[in-house]
C-alpha cells in the first residue's frame, strides 16, 4: 500500500504542519533524550513545521517512548482520546514497539500497541534522531490518508489495539501488512542504526 495518491482537491496541509506531543510511558529516558535532540540545531525538526506542543488538543502526532506499565496505561489512553482526528501514534524505540528488554518484567504490559492503536513503529535503542524523523515522515503519509478518509466521510482507518497479542519479534510498519515481511529499518541511515 503506497502512501501518496490521496488529495484530489488541491494540496493538503496536515503534512506541512505536524504538531507533536511526546509522552514518556516507562522509558529509561534514553529515547526521550533523542526525541528532544531532534529539536536541537543539528536536526532542527522545526524545518518541517514540526512543533513539540506538549498539549494533546493541539497535537497531530503522538510520540510514545518506553514500554507500558499499569501506571502509564490510563495516561496514554487519556492523551490519545484527547487528541483530535486526524491523528497518528508513533512508537519510538524498541521498548515502545514491543516492550524491548523490559518485556518480561512483572510490571510491564509490553509495547504501546497493547493499549492504543499504533501507526508507525520506529525501532532502535535508543531510537536515533534520524530514524525518528524518518518515522515522523512516514506518519505524515498516514495522517494524510486519514484526512482523506475523513473528507470522504469514511471512518478514519485506525490499526487495531493488540491487547494480549504477542508482539512479533520482527516488526512491521503499518503500511507493510505482510506478516512475513522484512524487518523494518530506519531508512534514514540504511539499516545501520538497527545494528548499533
Amino acid at each position: 500500500m503506497s502512501v501518496k495518491d490521496t488529495s484530489k482537491k488541491g494540496a493538503s496541509y496536515v503534512k506541512k504542519s505536524p504538531w507533536i506531543i511526546h509522552y514518556d510511558a516507562a522509558s529509561c529516558n534514553g529515547c526521550d533524550i533523542e526525541v528532544l535532540a531532534s529539536l536541537t540545531p543539528l536536526y532542527d525538526v522545526e524545518r518541517f513545521g514540526i512543533i513539540n506542543t506538549g498539549n494533546p488538543r493541539h497535537a497531530d502526532i503522538f510520540l510514545v517512548t518506553g514500554s507500558v506499565n499499569e501506571q502509564a496505561k490510563p495516561v496514554i489512553e487519556q492523551i490519545y482520546s484527547q487528541m483530535v482526528e486526524p491523528k497518528v501514534v508513533i512508537a519510538c524505540g524498541i521498548c515502545a514497539c514491543s516492550g524491548g528488554v523490559f518485556k518480561t518484567c512483572y510490571n510491564t504490559m509490553g509495547g504501546i500497541d497493547q493499549v492504543i492503536p499504533v501507526d508507525v513503529y520506529v525501532p532502535g535503542c535508543a531510537v536515533r534522531p534520524e530514524a525518528l524523523i524518518d518515522g515522523v515522515v512516514r506518519a505524515l503519509d498516514i495522517l494524510e490518508q486519514k484526512r482523506a478518509a475523513m473528507d470522504a466521510g469514511l471512518p478514519v482507518p485506525t490499526p487495531e489495539v493488540k491487547l494480549g497479542v504477542e508482539t512479533p519479534r520482527v516488526l512491521h510498519t503499518q503500511d507493510d501488512p505482510d506478516e512475513s515481511g522484512t524487518p523494518i529499518e530506519p531508512a534514514a541511515q540504511g539499516g545501520e542504526g538497527a545494528k548499533r
Binding site: 504542519s17 540545531p41 522545526e46 524545518r47 518541517f48 513545521g49 488538543r57 493541539h58 486526524p86 475523513m150
Partner: protein
C-alpha cells in the same frame, strides 16, 4: 478625503492578515536563526492555520467559536478605526474588548490550566491598559484631538515630543506580543508550566481563529509604533515602517534573551514604567515651551 479613508480601511482588512502571517513567519525564522537553527518556511503560520481547519470540527465548542469570532471582528474594527484615521481611543478600547472576548471564550473550558491561563490573561490586560491609555492621552496632547488622521498634519514626528511614552509602549508591546520575559499567560513557543494557557483545550477552528486574530493584532500593534513617526510629509510613512521593523526585531531579540518572569514582576514593572514614563513625559511636555502645538 473620505474615499482615502475608506480605501485604507479596506486595504487593512485585506492586507493585514497576509502581512501578519508573513511577519509571524519571519519571526519564527529569525528566532530559529538566533538559536542557530534553520527554521521553518516563511509561510509556516499559513500552513498551520490551514492544517487546523482540516482537523475534526466536532471537537469545537459552539459558544467558544462564536466568542472567538467576535474577538476577531472587534479587532478588525479596531484596525479599521485606525486606518480610516478615525478615533484612536475607540481603536484602543476595541482592541481591549477583543482581548476580553478571547478571555470569555477561553473561560468556557473548565480545565485548570485554562483557568490559570485566563487569570493570567486578565492580569496582562491590566498591565497593558495604563500605558495604552497614557498613549492615547499623549496623542491628544500632541495633536489636540483623538483623531488618528490629525497625526498626518504635524510638522515633527510625535516621538520627538513623547519619547518616554514611546519607550513605555515598546515595553507594553512585549506583553501584548506574548514575548518572553512576559509570556506568562501563553507563548508561541512550546512547553509552558501551564501548557498552552488559555488555549490549552482549543483545537482546530478555534485555534485557527486565534491565530488569524494574532495576525491582525500584530499589524495593529506595529501600526501603533509607526504612529510615533508619521508627519505631514508622506515620506514619513517609510520612516514609520522602518521604525516598526526595528522595534519588532528588538522584540524578537528580547524574546530570545530573557527568561520568563513571575506575574508579580510583570505587574509591578509595567505599572511603574507606565506611570514613570507617562508622568515624566507629560511634565516635560508642559515644561518645554511648545509653540506650534495645537494644544496651546
Amino acid at each position: 478625503m473620505v474615499w482615502l479613508s475608506v480605501l485604507l480601511a479596506i486595504l487593512f482588512v485585506v492586507v493585514a492578515p497576509v502581512l501578519g502571517c508573513l511577519i509571524t513567519g519571519a519571526d519564527r525564522i529569525l528566532t530559529a536563526r538566533m538559536q542557530r537553527r534553520r527554521g521553518p518556511s516563511i509561510l509556516q503560520p499559513y500552513y498551520d492555520v490551514r492544517k487546523l481547519l482540516e482537523k475534526d470540527a466536532r471537537a469545537n465548542d459552539v459558544v467558544q467559536v462564536i466568542l472567538l469570532a467576535l474577538s476577531l471582528v472587534m479587532l478588525v474594527v479596531a484596525g479599521v478605526c485606525l486606518y480610516a484615521g478615525a478615533n484612536f481611543l475607540l481603536c484602543i478600547l476595541l482592541e481591549t474588548l477583543s482581548s476580553l472576548m478571547f478571555i470569555l471564550a477561553a473561560s468556557v473550558d473548565p480545565s485548570p490550566f485554562v483557568q490559570v491561563g485566563v487569570q493570567r490573561e486578565i492580569l496582562q490586560v491590566m498591565c497593558c491598559e495604563p500605558m495604552l491609555l497614557l498613549f492615547a492621552v499623549g496623542v491628544y496632547l500632541y495633536t489636540g484631538s483623538f483623531s488618528v488622521s490629525s497625526l498626518f498634519s504635524t510638522n515633527l514626528p510625535m516621538v520627538v515630543w513623547l519619547p518616554l511614552i514611546f519607550i513605555g509602549l515598546v515595553f507594553v508591546l512585549t506583553i501584548k506580543l506574548r514575548k518572553s520575559p512576559f509570556d506568562i499567560a501563553s507563548s508561541h513557543h512550546a512547553h509552558q508550566e501551564i501548557v498552552a494557557g488559555a488555549s490549552t483545550e482549543m483545537s482546530g477552528l478555534s485555534l485557527a481563529l486565534i491565530e488569524v486574530t494574532h495576525w491582525y493584532e500584530l499589524v495593529i500593534l506595529m501600526s501603533w509604533v509607526g504612529m510615533f513617526f508619521v508627519t505631514s510629509n508622506p515620506l514619513s510613512v517609510l520612516l514609520a515602517i522602518l521604525a516598526a521593523a526595528v522595534v519588532f526585531l528588538l522584540e524578537i531579540w528580547i524574546d530570545n534573551s530573557f527568561a520568563r518572569v513571575k506575574w508579580q514582576v510583570m505587574f509591578k514593572s509595567s505599572w511603574m514604567v507606565a506611570l514613570v514614563c507617562g508622568m515624566v513625559n507629560f511634565a516635560m511636555f508642559f515644561f518645554i515651551d511648545s509653540n506650534g502645538l495645537v494644544f496651546f
